[in-house]
Symmetry: C2
Subunit: 478 residues, 2 copies
Amino acid sequence: MPDTFLPAPLLTALQDLLGPSGILTETSDTQSYCTDWRMLYQGKCAAVLRPATTEACAKAVALCVQYGVPMVPQGGNTSMVGGATPDTSGKAVVISTTRMNRIIAIDHADLTMTVEAGVTLKAAQDAALKEGLMLPLSISSEGSADIGGVLATNAGGNNTVRYGNARELALGLEAVLPDGSVLNVMRKLRKDNTGYALRQLLIGSEGTLGIITTAVIQLQPQPRSRETALCAVQNTQAALDLFATFRKQDPAAIQAFEYMSGTSMALVNSLIENCALPLSEPAPAYVLVELASPRADDSLRTLMEETLGTAFENGLVSDAVLAESETQRQALWMIREEHAEAQKRAGASVKNDVSVPLATIPDFIERATAACENLIPGIRVAPFGHIGDGNIHFNLVQPEGADAAAFLAQDHAMMDTVAGIVRELGGSFSAEHGVGQLKTYMMPSWRGGAELDSMRKIKAALDPKNLMNPGKIFPDAE
Amino acid sequence: MPDTFLPAPLLTALQDLLGPSGILTETSDTQSYCTDWRMLYQGKCAAVLRPATTEACAKAVALCVQYGVPMVPQGGNTSMVGGATPDTSGKAVVISTTRMNRIIAIDHADLTMTVEAGVTLKAAQDAALKEGLMLPLSISSEGSADIGGVLATNAGGNNTVRYGNARELALGLEAVLPDGSVLNVMRKLRKDNTGYALRQLLIGSEGTLGIITTAVIQLQPQPRSRETALCAVQNTQAALDLFATFRKQDPAAIQAFEYMSGTSMALVNSLIENCALPLSEPAPAYVLVELASPRADDSLRTLMEETLGTAFENGLVSDAVLAESETQRQALWMIREEHAEAQKRAGASVKNDVSVPLATIPDFIERATAACENLIPGIRVAPFGHIGDGNIHFNLVQPEGADAAAFLAQDHAMMDTVAGIVRELGGSFSAEHGVGQLKTYMMPSWRGGAELDSMRKIKAALDPKNLMNPGKIFPDAE
């Protein structure tokens, strides 16, 4: 009998149900499931359950409920906030969706993919691509993150500005609820007004209301034309005005619209190989804009050139470079994607993944920059991010030559300073990453009153014993 | 003291709270609030409450809860399913949102409108238009339907194919919950992963989870180019293939894609003035396609002509006419919009507002047509609707010269026949109109098991006394 908290009859029943490869109980096997990707949490579990079908998953959940065993759903284990990591008691089981990994169908009439939870986002993207279609969701962890986790956390990314978050892409859903019943809302319908929005509720509930097992995802035709440009702008307001100009021309053409502060860009240019600034001189801020269309005509090029031409005349843009080939396009994107790495090389840093209403972004960056510089003289305020959807990674890099540990010791002071301004502007303390266990303590003060109260009531109604991913989202859950 | 079920202290408190114009108790004043638009239901109420602010609405709800008085939220009173009509007991109050009718702000940076529930959809559209923007939701009752009702019922319409339903358009929401507390999720954020999707849950809950009082609606730039064509096709599959062809070219360009059967079109041509068929000869089916773009260039015309040209060569389209002016465009749309009126003039008819997965539409129409013709010889099967989003109005017109009453006596047999096929194809018995009280009886068999069970648990958690719009959605609520 392995060393586990599970009662013997439950263990036997689970072994019978899931088979030898469907349950792991040795610590050497379960350890990797008990640590989060950022290494912030080191938990323990009684077992890792790896059901291969929805039916097996449902039966396993029902057994756990019968014995009062907490369950932690886990997909690709790439949470940024410890959302899929068990606590240290060792009493919970991790339920991994890894083995439910079939792409069931790609439907060219409905333009949908029916896919099981354990398929990685990358594998799903590739399967769509192979059929000449596009799954329009892209995040940096897509090689490991799976569809179930992506939906459970309502993932965002670079293309939210065009296609919305994961919630907007899911047309159907199947999930095992906290009582072991199976919710099947797999209807491929764009119009269906027959009761409550259970699909939307499950999506983004971070595994606290059930385990997503299968989904229907909306696809798009592959773009056949694409234009990418890196632009120098005088300030954040100019970046925002440029976004508004493109949006006025054609919001559906904007595939991505990314902002990079001059400070953060300078770090990339100086610390990353092959990332020199491809413009004549440094600027206070930059924008990477990508237009795309499934149409193969050249009107996109005209749109890009004319819009940038006018922006140049209006003083919004001081310099710009357009990608003339796929290689050049990838080079421009590399400059955008290396900001996190460059900041890492520059020393210790503190990250704030926040969102604010678009109109307030310039005010937010100005005020938060001043406040942080006032707090820590010499600090390098290096924001960048998805300005087109209001999501700024307001990252703070230690002063040059300063002591890293001393800088990091002030992390809460920095985070509270930024969060205070975000709150005044009607923003959010977690734009993309969710609450998990890292940010549960913020829920009462940010989402308190009727909002958190309603969430608690719904949680208690669907999971009265609080066995499904306890300790996530809600601060005082056990 | 007026003749009302309300306890005297509650009536006094409500009068003090709402003022003379804020509460109606005379039957002559309340009668119009107690009958639905289709005249299917004639209810009674103890009073009509007309709060002018969210605060007054919240206090009125709290008072009603204190005295155990049921509440029926009502917007423009245009429900197709009796969703806003009180029962015949006379014990409920109607809470009308009519006086909360301010357009609070139009934000050009965020491209949003902040608007109170009582503003009609048409007034909101017009306000957006005045600012050079578009509120991309259009339904036939938009002159009376208000924003609160549109959101409470997740309204659809012609443009769902491009912009989604009402739920997808709402970025923020304020609502009075069944306990009288105010849920404020008015954040104008495209990314905000901090807990459950309460906004999405409230939207489409048909007033059973609270009263929507204010919303933030996403706007779009006004289209600057538009192309509209009426096409003759050989059958439903050809109509669907033509949709797929346009979508492959550019899904974002498709503003509307409407289907009309030859039977229904013939009724329009023969029974409605100024609606002759603008094509050389009748066809088995027709499609009205409208492309639009905020861009002013002429690529949309090219897209329309080239796509139709190829479709003509492939045999998908046998004939087509393109609108060359706004007058011609409106004439084509009139042909589409007169189908309901033409069917009315042709005699008694039975309506089925259903949706099915796109791929199954041809199969659905073929099978449902055969089944209905088998059921009632001579019946005129006259479907039309939003084929681009899978929503077909599968309407059935009595045989020529037959007795209307005898035909209508078989309405359940016809509806059950159609519904049975819809169910086999994974469709929905209510695509746009919701459940209300008309279709509550269908919920257990169509949405039973874990789905209805979860809805009931959520309802009970947020409205334990079942006072908020009782008798709607759920069949056995009192």
